[in-house]
Subunit: 145 residues, 4 copies
């Protein structure tokens, strides 16, 4: 909707460097597929290592992906040297996490000096099919290193 103006021109480099330091992103096979001002996409391929008892991707992993996408979406708009912490989020699960991969999309709703509010969604992809499987509303906080 809104076009955001990043205050740090190197926002993408900063987000990608931080992402690369996350042990969990390697563990779940996550890739950062889009980093633009106020919006970040992360993809995770299906794996039996990520499942709940029915063989679908666990709600907590769906959450991990979109939490990270929302956090970095907030981070794209923060000043140089700022890092981001998750204050809290709420997520609704709409459909099972099945298919070839899931995509977590985080978008800034309202940026702020201290707090940034984001909305997130997760889609499950199978061949050419994409289905909305979860929606998130999150509060992120800027911390200066």
């Amino acid at each position: 909707m809104t076009n955001f103006e990043p205050s740090d021109v190197h926002f993408e480099f900063r987000v990608r460097s931080s992402f690369d330091q996350q042990g969990i992103m390697k563990t779940i096979g996550a890739k950062l597929t889009k980093v633009i001002p106020g919006e970040v996409h992360i993809e995770v391929p299906f794996s039996m290592a990520l499942t709940q008892q029915h063989g679908y991707i666990h709600a907590g992993i769906i959450t991990t992906v979109v939490d990270t996408a929302c956090g970095y979406a907030a981070n794209t708009l923060m000043p140089v040297l700022s890092e981001v912490l998750t204050v809290e989020y709420k997520i609704n699960f709409l459909s099972p996490g099945k298919g070839e991969k899931i995509i977590g999309i985080g978008k800034v709703v309202k940026p702020g000096r201290t707090l940034t509010v984001c909305s997130g969604e997760v889609r499950a992809c199978d061949k050419n099919d994409e289905k909305l499987i979860a929606t998130m509303q999150a509060t992120m906080m800027a911390v200066v290193k």
Copy 2:
């Protein structure tokens, strides 16, 4: 607070069997340490494979542990053959996920035929120290196989 009466005497067997089918619980090294009517505890040792960019356990993994504890807490009170799905949850992060292990504790607040409301908390343990690091409020749904 409340003492709950399980309708299925084999509730613990049912919860443990389901837990053992979760690929993600193996991946993160989780152990089911307590299963009583209306309450479940899950422990996960610290590992660099679970971290965010500062070397602490990722918010999404903290969530995964307490979501699972809340879901199985709800499941202990459900009828024979019932399974549990997460409808939604909200979680606040209070302190970093650091230390030797984290413990996710799920408790039933209000059981119901269709929906069960749970509260969860996560504690980080280091030697003899225990610290509250997150609190959750969750809605779980019973589904009959």
Copy 3:
């Protein structure tokens, strides 16, 4: 986004009749300004009777308006004779509730036989200015009379 097909052609009559039975809607001066399949708008004029300590509309009243809009948005898609109950919601406050009136907008994200997930937003209007002041994510439940 999505076009929804109501199963009850008299959905608007049903929503308006229910709305008229709410004592609180009269108390806060609320008007139902839009009722289409999957979407409902409710307006409330500013009044000192609705304020918090700084003279802005109280967060709880902002919530009341958008909760009702989300509930009726869900109700538009429910079968004949169904009523709606709020299971839970989460709301973020982005800006103060000031101006001439607020508008609560509820939209269905995912309809379901038992549970319907909605997203809501509240805008504060002053002359020709409209500002997003809150966003909600809600779970509604159909109950048959």
Copy 4:
């Protein structure tokens, strides 16, 4: 659980003065019945002016009461001259809001310089009966005048 030490000895005076400036508290007939460090209780008598379509107290009013209790609970621990704003909350509704009155109880879970996390509950009272009807998890923010 925890005993909190208020930094402002006049915390009760500050909370009561602010409460008295809320137009909405008069409108719904709310009374501040307990103000101790980290905990606040607010009571509202049943009235047809506060109802939803079934004649029970509207979910939004239940929310208004416990939001205010949580906000002031946070405020009891804030420094002199601090005011409190609601960042966000999530609430689950467990039972209908019926009876003679409702009591909203807000408690601090984790106080902080900027953000304070609270938990809230609402009980409906009828004669000598008390029933838990809602639980809240909220994030409050200190703002200096």
